[in-house]
């Protein structure tokens, strides 16, 4: 790769994450003004806590989704993985603090298996990520619908504290989410597997020709994504005090996480993106939601705003020469 093409690429990458955070600041400023006109203080402790809480669950899911999208795949099964994890954890714990470790392990083990299933269907059966994870998600959904008619299990108080307490206005759940995001970020940057994830997303053909076992990064990405979804399920179980078969779908975590990832500058075709961009995207959604609730915005119009913001934000920076890069890897579309 010549330096002529590397420099604009690096400038673009720097730009997209920076743009997200600039957008976040703009949204915060507008939000603060709107909230003040409603007689509230945007920067009060309670409001900050509300926003940060709103970021925790979606942040966990979106970080996982980033990895999967980086490899050029998608994960639509996350809502059901979240729900079933919450149920497995809550039912194992049964209100007994001695069972906490077992509950957590069982939930995460299930999530890892779901991720493995996703990864294997994508790599070995050669099914597109959209269909593969849609299928696996539906399989889990059928299981949930048949076996659970409502919330189940019960989470002991010790575990509930995770969902409820914080350091100052910062909830522990947000800290955990950011810590995990940092870990994943380091994983992507520092480890070989992380680099392979970028490579496989950039071009499957070139990676294979370079001697990479292209299946592994994809499977690893899917497993990590599902485990993050499992963690999100645990967090929700902690907040709700019970497991729920609908908690995953209630939050719309599949489409919203994808939207947050794309908002954060990761391209859907894979190969380029950043965890911090995703966190920025999640933050934008959380601020939007919080502001709209504080001004008692009509709930139906909230969806309109979300839809417009998603499209507008992505339009702003994907128009910046992404196609130039895409043209070099035209066969990518065939492989998807």
């Amino acid at each position: 790769m010549s330096t002529a093409t590397t420099r604009p690429k690096r400038r673009m990458r720097l730009d997209s994450t920076v743009i997200v955070y600039i957008a976040l600041i703009v949204v915060i400023i507008i939000g603060a003004i709107l909230v003040n006109t409603a007689g509230r203080n945007f920067f009060s402790l309670g409001n900050i806590r509300d926003i940060l809480t709103g970021m925790s669950v979606l942040g966990l899911v979106a970080v996982g989704q980033t990895l999967v999208i980086l490899t050029g795949s998608l994960d639509l099964s996350v809502p059901y993985v979240i729900s079933l994890s919450s149920l497995l954890a809550a039912e194992t714990m049964r209100g007994n603090p001695n069972n906490i470790a077992q509950g957590v392990l069982l939930a995460l083990a299930f999530a890892a298996i779901a991720g493995l299933a996703n990864g294997l269907v994508v790599t070995k059966l050669k099914v597109n990520g959209f269909i593969a994870t849609l299928g696996v998600g539906l399989i889990i959904k059928g299981y949930l619908d048949t076996n659970y008619q409502g919330s189940a299990g019960s989470v002991p108080a010790a575990f509930q504290f995770i969902g409820a307490t914080g350091l100052g206005p910062v909830p522990i759940s947000t800290i955990i989410m950011l810590a995990l995001a940092t870990l994943v970020f380091l994983f992507l940057r520092k480890t070989r597997m992380g680099h392979h994830i970028y490579a496989v997303g950039g071009s499957l053909e070139v990676s294979r020709l370079s001697g990479l076992r292209t299946a592994r990064p994809i499977i690893v990405a899917h497993v990590i994504c599902s485990v993050m979804a499992g963690l999100a399920g645990l967090l929700l179980a902690s907040r709700l005090g019970v497991g729920s078969p609908t908690v995953g779908s209630q939050g719309g975590y599949d489409l919203l996480s994808i939207a947050a990832v794309v908002l954060g500058g990761t391209i859907l075709a894979g190969g380029r993106g950043s965890i911090w961009g995703t966190i920025g995207g999640v933050a934008i959604f959380a601020v939007l939601d919080s502001v709209m609730s504080a001004i008692q915005f009509n709930p139906f119009l909230k969806d309109v705003v979300r839809g417009v913001v998603i499209v507008a934000a992505v339009a702003i920076y994907t128009g910046r020469g992404v196609e130039r890069r895409r043209a070099r890897f035209a066969t990518k579309e065939v492989q998807r």
């Binding site: 409001n47 659970y148 409502g150 409820a164 307490t165 350091l167 100052g168 970020f185 209630q250 939050g251």
Partner: protein, 400 residues
């Protein structure tokens, strides 16, 4: 260069969080009693509650005549004089959602009632947060109100029973009065819990009607909206039991209230054999069910729907043998009226059981007259005939 920027950002971020660390916030989660190792198996049928509700159907409600939204059944009153306030009376309302026509009708009625109460000075303002059907969001909403809301009273329509319980308890802990209505929670710390008699009563009313009008061995198709919603599950649990005892063959399907889905289900059932009765756990989509019979060219079934205007109109025009059970929509008014009473220190029932009287064929004409011009998604027991906006506000159905 990018790498070091990201590193720097990460370090600054972590440092900022550490710097923000103050003393740990008071654990806002109170210690519930430790679990004894039993799993909560959800089996919706409860004989004791079933019997109570069965009996309550026949009790004459106490309270002002002609104002069912202020009547109560089997009430144990509680004293609220400690909550009497003279200053601002702000209500903070954590609403589960307005995602179905029943809830929207109630929401419109509630806002009309609010205007009246504000004029009287009984309530100074109401702030609402809509959770859009998400447990997690509603918990955050309640916590927001506790922290930021400056609330004098918490009004909560819970999204689900078990998951919302800790949040409701936190609201109670603030010392301000809490009113819960519609779905319940697993704590009795609220000042009052407002609801119509209940799902089992609905199940009994509807099942008995169908059993009376059908014969043993007849087939009833039950159309259910969603699984896992307690107010809907109890309806089916009650009805299912009675059908089984009476020898009626009942099959149930989940429809998501999608009329196309309802039509398909009925068409398939009609292809398999006769269908003599239709039971619905909520009336949304009832018209589609009847149209399926029309399309197949067979006789209409005996049907129970709900007090939704679309169903009532169809009932009237087709002349079917029908019944419209109600899940008294006027409870949305009662919620604010209870707030008024509490602010005034008047006593209210600890559990405010509202009357739940189904609409029979005899009542149909009168009900339709009162609700003339109302849109299809309106519910006849909205209880707002004496509010100033009647009838235009409900006819135009502009969501506040």
């Amino acid at each position: 260069m990018r790498r070091s920027i990201n590193m720097a950002a990460t370090v600054v971020g972590i440092a900022a969080i550490v710097a923000l660390a103050g003393c740990t916030t008071d654990p806002s989660v109170t210690e519930p009693s430790e679990g004894d190792g039993t799993t909560e198996e959800i089996n919706w049928f409860d004989q004791a509650v079933f019997d109570t509700q069965n009996a309550q159907r026949d009790v004459v409600p106490e309270g002002p005549e002609g104002q069912p939204y202020l009547q109560y059944i089997d009430a144990e009153m509680v004293d609220t004089s400690q909550y009497k306030v003279d200053g601002p009376k702000k209500v903070c309302f954590a609403n589960a959602s307005i995602s179905n026509p029943w809830r929207i009708t109630g929401w419109i009625t509630m806002n009309e009632q609010l205007k009246v109460l504000q004029e009287q000075g009984a309530i100074s303002e109401m702030e609402t947060r809509d959770a859009q059907d998400s447990d997690d969001t509603q918990i955050a909403d309640i916590d927001y109100f506790i922290e930021e809301g400056n609330c004098d009273l918490f009004l909560i329509s819970p999204n689900s029973t078990a998951a919302m319980t800790p949040a409701v308890e936190r609201a109670c802990d603030t010392g301000k009065p809490v009113i819960v209505f519609d779905r319940g929670v697993l704590t009795d710390c609220p000042v009052t819990f407002i609801h119509p008699i209940g799902g089992f009563a609905w199940g009994i009313d509807t099942a008995e009607f169908l059993i009376d009008n059908l014969q043993e061995g007849d087939k009833v198709v039950a159309l259910r909206i969603l699984p896992g919603v307690d107010v809907l599950e109890t309806r089916w649990a009650g009805a299912e039991k009675l059908f089984a005892e009476a020898g009626i063959e009942a099959v149930d399907y989940f429809t998501g209230a999608d009329p196309a889905e309802i039509k398909k289900i009925i068409s398939d059932e009609l292809a398999k054999g006769d269908v003599n009765g239709i039971w619905m756990d909520a009336g949304d989509g009832g018209v589609a069910a009847l149209e399926a019979f029309e399309d197949a060219g067979v006789d209409y079934p005996v049907m129970t729907g709900e007090d939704q205007i679309a169903f009532l109109n169809k009932w009237k025009s087709t002349g079917i043998t029908g019944l419209a059970p109600v899940y008294s929509n006027f409870q949305w008014r009662t919620a604010l009226l209870a707030a008024q009473k509490i602010f005034a220190g008047e006593e209210v029932p600890k559990e405010w059981v509202l009357p739940q009287k189904p609409i029979t064929a005899e009542d149909l004409d009168e009900v339709l007259a009162v609700n003339e011009g109302m849109p299809d998604g309106h519910y006849a027991t909205f209880g707002g005939e004496d509010l100033p906006g009647y009838p235009t506000v409900w006819q135009e159905r502009i969501v506040p």
